[in-house]
């Protein structure tokens, strides 16, 4: 996997340096990982089995950690990686063309998914959700850029509280608090979008 990690690192760096095409070249790798996870979900009978959040980012990171012990470099890498994941996954959700909010009652669908997942997914899996979160994050970024960054790192980048704290160079307690209020804020923002009845 080392060469892949290396390539991901280079592509991310290229992208952050302004090479827009790098994201397109990164996309198949992200899709590949997505498909691997999907196969896992289809195969595993019992929920509860957890996978590494994003092996892709982690492999790339391990690669990077050896070559670039500089802290700022690492933080930058994660920020870029999480943003890339966000772009690619939201594009993926859009391309599914499942974005139809019209007369639907999506909140119920979310809860239903939660209820049906036997603890596997605490939240819905509708691709609409990714798009809705992406939209809400844009609003959040105007209000509080760091909070939206935390969501990017945690949700799209798959980082733990601890890792996020390290990347942003603040205490875990700070991240925990920020994460708490940001989730409340986002949850409220998303529930505002719902209209019930026709």
């Amino acid at each position: 996997m080392a060469p892949l990690g290396n390539e991901v690192t280079q592509l991310l760096r290229a992208w952050s340096d302004g090479d827009q095409g790098a994201l397109d070249r990164l996309m198949p790798m992200v899709y590949d990982e997505l498909h691997r996870f999907a196969r896992h979900y289809m195969a595993v009978e019992r929920p509860g089995h957890t996978l590494q959040a994003t092996a892709l980012v982690n492999e790339a990171y391990l690669r990077l950690a050896n070559t670039e012990p500089d802290f700022n470099g690492r933080a930058h890498f994660f920020a870029v990686a999480a943003r890339a994941m966000r772009r690619i996954l939201v594009d993926w959700a859009r391309s599914r063309g499942a974005h139809k909010r019209g007369g639907d009652v999506p909140l119920l669908e979310l809860d239903q998914n939660a209820a049906h997942d036997g603890g596997g997914a605490p939240w819905g899996t509708s691709s609409n959700d990714l798009i809705a979160i992406d939209d809400a994050l844009k609003t959040l970024a105007k209000l509080d850029a760091r909070k939206s960054e935390i969501v990017e790192l945690r949700f799209f980048g798959g980082l733990s509280i601890k890792e996020t704290a390290e990347v942003l160079n603040v205490s875990e307690e700070t991240i925990r608090k920020d994460w708490n209020i940001t989730k409340s804020w986002l949850k409220r923002e998303l529930s505002r979008g719902q209209l019930y009845g026709g």
């Binding site: 992200v30 997505l34 996870f37 998914n113 049906h116 509708s126 409340s184 026709g198």
Partner: protein, 662 residues
């Protein structure tokens, strides 16, 4: 400016979270110092924090992967053959599965194939629903109801085969605007006819809405999706009305009758309501009730009269409007009581004319058949909370209330706060307890003792005293009655409920509900609730003598051990078969070797009846861990040990005296 405000909001939010739940509201009020906007903002965020614990905790990659897994499952089906059905094309997908157009290779005809995805995505709920739908459809034979062909399973894939209905759903028709009255009447009459067939076979559909009504190019209406249908069994000697309830309120909210939303008793009148809501929409292009949020929608359904359809579509006849509004009455008794009554009214409006020139469906080549078929609309958490207490009321209110002996211990569980308002978390319990204790008949098990019990149970003292925990404490402590209070609410309408459980039978014997309009009325209503509960507990009834010995407080973290112990204690008290009692105490001790109370009793039994030396050994062991017992048990053990094992009566007198003094 905005940044400053946001900073302030965060500050108050986090400080409020650090507060005890009961002092939170007061804290926010003080911290906001009259700034109502700030207070509202913080409160609304806090309300969402209650439900956002699991939110976003699964990385985006996994959400996407799960979605992709679902996509894959259905993509894989096209072109494949399941049993003797060749899958041609997908017709629609819902939360629980996919509907395909397929070809029956044996009979050479087109069918609709409803398939649940295999593997982890096909859960038991979806499976049950599919089977239920099949069983419901199998009972029915009617031109306006889709026909079932087969329910099958192959390689772990469950599938339901039905008649393939080409056409559009009525929801698609509405998208083109309201329907002309003549056409509407014809459709209504067909729906009514289908419903009559279902009701005649003891079925309620429970998810009637325009999405589940197909309209064929020939102008025929077909009801689909019987996945939520229930069989309502006629009671002996009473075929006039039969009722059912749903464990979890489910359906499509804008078309759900009040009793369905609130988890009440359901019958054909619930379906009649849904028909009314559908006809309303067909006539006006709008559902009768709307809301910016689910709670708002529910509040409207429960309390607001629908806008008369003629106010939206002035051309509508009075007769049709009357019929629709009668279907939409809040109280089932005020609706049509049978489908026949509705049909009679509809027929009197205009002689049914077949719709000859039905407008061409918009997508004749790609029918929307069963698009919504598997959409489960399982109603969410907010919703569940609302229904649960009320549901309990309906389930249990018909059982006779049992009375409890005066001064029997009563354990009041933590308030089940089903609102999003954390203010109710602690405050209501305190108020409720105070109110209950005004009765000299009610002896509320003190919280301090609950904490001690929890410590012996090796549980966190801060644990929520919910159903399971309360039951466990009650069994350990010989408490006879449990009270489970709860609050739920929609907008300004609150419902306070209290459930009484007889610990011995484990059955809920009575549920009482009072309503409160507005927050400021809640405490008054709480008093009213307490008064009713006191009455239910037997304050006004002659006390019943105790039928069982309260169990001594025991020390084990294992419920299984506790159960064995309890049986042993019961056998011992009966005194008929002490060998059996010994057997159960031994079991308890095997499960939890540190279970001192079990060791004590086993020791006493052995000492007195079976094996004196073994008894001595066990009792001496028990004495060494006597601190794991309640004081009452401990002094009892010490006295017994001193007297029986050591033969020292003088020594025995000390703990015996202390025991009496307790």
């Amino acid at each position: 400016m905005e940044a400053e405000r946001w900073r302030k909001i965060q500050q108050v939010y986090h400080s409020a979270l650090d507060q005890q739940a009961d002092s939170r509201a007061a804290f926010i009020a003080t911290a906001c110092g009259g700034d109502d906007g700030l207070r509202r903002e913080v409160e609304s965020l806090l309300a969402h924090s209650e439900t956002s614990e699991a939110f976003l905790e699964m990385p985006a990659m996994h959400l996407a992967a799960k979605q992709h897994a679902k996509d894959e499952t259905k993509w894989n089906m096209v072109g494949k053959t399941l049993s003797h059905y060749r899958v041609i094309q997908e017709l629609g997908a819902g939360g629980m599965g996919v509907v395909y157009l397929a070809r029956d290779e044996t009979l050479d005809r087109q069918v609709a194939l409803k398939v649940l995805p295999r593997g982890s995505l096909a859960d038991e709920t979806a499976r049950k629903r599919l089977r239920k739908e099949a069983l419901a459809l199998a009972k029915l034979s009617h031109p306006n109801i889709e026909t079932i062909y087969e329910l099958g399973s192959q390689d772990g894939v469950d599938f339901l085969v039905t008649e393939y209905v080409a056409g559009t759903t009525l929801a698609d028709r509405i998208a083109n605007g309201p329907l002309p009255e003549s056409e509407l009447l014809e459709i209504a009459s067909q729906i009514g006819s289908a419903l009559e067939e279902a009701a005649g076979n003891g079925l309620v559909h429970l998810d009637l809405n325009p999405r589940n009504m197909m309209f064929t190019p020939k102008g025929q209406v077909k009801l689909l999706d019987f996945g939520l249908a229930r069989i309502v069994k006629p009671k002996d000697g009473d075929n006039t009305r039969s009722l059912t309830t749903m464990a979890v309120p489910a359906g499509t909210p804008p078309y759900m009758a009040p009793e369905q939303l609130m988890g009440g008793l359901l019958d054909v009148r619930t379906d009649i309501y849904a028909v009314g809501a559908s006809l309303y929409e067909l006539a006006t292009g709008r559902t009768p009730f709307r809301g910016a949020s689910l709670p708002e929608l529910i509040a409207a359904v429960l309390h607001t009269p629908p806008e008369p359809p003629s106010a939206i579509c002035p051309g509508l006849s009075r007769g049709l409007e009357r019929a629709i509004l009668k279907c939409l009455q809040k109280a089932p008794e005020k609706r049509y009581q049978a489908v026949g009554e509705l049909l009679a009214d509809l027929h009197s409006l205009e002689p049914a004319q077949p719709v000859t020139a039905a407008p061409a469906p918009r997508h004749p080549a790609f029918p929307a058949h069963a698009k919504e078929w598997l959409r489960p609309w399982k109603v969410g958490l907010v919703f569940l909370g609302l229904g649960a207490a009320i549901l309990a009321l309906f389930l249990f209110s018909r059982r006779p209330a049992q009375s409890f002996a005066a001064r029997d211990w009563v354990l009041v569980a933590d308030f089940d706060n089903q609102t999003n308002d954390p203010i109710f978390d602690q405050s209501l319990l305190t108020a409720f307890s105070v109110s209950l204790e005004q009765s000299r008949y009610v002896n509320i098990y003190p919280r301090s003792r609950i904490r001690e019990v929890l410590a012996r149970m090796k549980k966190d003292a801060a644990i929520k005293i919910d159903d399971a925990v309360a039951q466990e404490i009650a069994v350990r402590e010989g408490i006879r009655a449990l009270i489970f209070p709860s609050i739920s609410g929609v907008g300004e309408d609150y419902r306070l409920a209290s459930r009484i459980r007889d610990v011995k039978s484990g059955m809920d014997v009575k549920t009482t509900v009072v309503k409160a309009k507005g927050r400021q009325r809640i405490l008054d209503s709480l008093d009213e609730l307490a008064a009713k509960v006191r009455e239910d507990l037997g304050e006004s009834l002659p006390p019943v003598s105790r039928t069982s010995h309260p169990l001594p407080a025991v020390t084990t973290a294992s419920l299984d051990a506790l159960k064995q112990y309890s049986i042993g204690a019961e056998k011992r008290t009966e005194g008929l078969n002490l060998e059996e009692a010994k057997f159960y105490f031994e079991n308890a001790l095997k499960i939890d070797p540190a279970f001192t109370a079990a060791r004590t009793w086993l020791g006493i039994l052995d000492f007195e009846h079976f094996d004196r030396e073994e008894g001595k050994r066990l009792l001496s062991e028990a004495v060494r861990s006597a601190d794991n017992l309640t004081d009452h048990e401990k002094y009892g053990l010490l006295a017994f040990h001193a007297r029986a094992v050591e033969g020292n009566l003088e020594k025995a007198a000390v703990p015996a005296a202390r025991r009496v003094a307790l």
